[in-house]
Symmetry: C2
Subunit: 129 residues, 2 copies
């Protein structure tokens, strides 16, 4: 099973304000914009060829920013070649199940959701080979 | 100015429990252990040669886990070749100052601290060339 930590997704009050800030100050570039029904996700990361992590900035349509601990970190996300095996491994390690692997409707990916020992949500994403 | 996002630092209740979980399930390896006077920081990331982000797991000696929004995400951390220029750039972009660049006492690094538009703490770390 290939597994790669994509990064952390942070909830922000105004995603465009955040994109501007992280671009201007730290030189991060927009890698992907993911418009969803009730939220917008924007992945910013290092410019082409540079090393470093990415971070996902998340704006919920019905929120003005994070308000309680469970809403500060949206999730950690891991990209994997086999979401079923990874989900089973997480269950065996004592992770709390949230949603078993299921094909997403809007994108060609299969997604599962668990919680780590502190309750942080972890999304497991299998993309087409 | 070279800038690289190291990753996000999450507060956890039991750092060894978290290290075990992320190793066992996701194959992340310990890159660095940073014992500090009142807290322990452990950076876990991809095995040698693998792509992907790192995450810093932080356990405060006097806490049993995150309790309010400001304690869930400890910080984002950027590694840079010039912390003074980066700090000035953050100020110019409207970041809230927390601590201007100062030489750390325990490690040979110079560190500054600011807050992003949502109030997330951002640590700027200049390491020796």
């Amino acid at each position: 099973v290939q597994v790669q930590l994509g990064g952390v997704a942070l909830n922000v009050a105004d995603v465009e304000r955040s994109v501007a800030f992280y671009s201007e100050v730290f030189g991060l570039e927009v890698h992907q914009r993911i418009p969803l029904p009730a939220m917008t996700e924007v992945i910013v990361g290092p410019p082409d060829g540079a090393a470093g992590s990415s971070v996902m900035l998340v704006q919920h349509d019905d929120r003005g920013g994070p308000t309680d601990p469970s809403e500060v970190v949206e999730k950690l996300y891991f990209v994997t070649s086999d979401v079923h095996t990874l989900y089973d491994r997480a269950m065996a390690a004592g992770a709390e199940p949230v949603a078993p692997p299921a094909r997403a409707t809007a994108f060609p990916v299969t997604i599962a959701l668990v919680r780590d020992p502190d309750g942080y949500k972890i999304e497991l994403v299998e993309t087409p080979a």
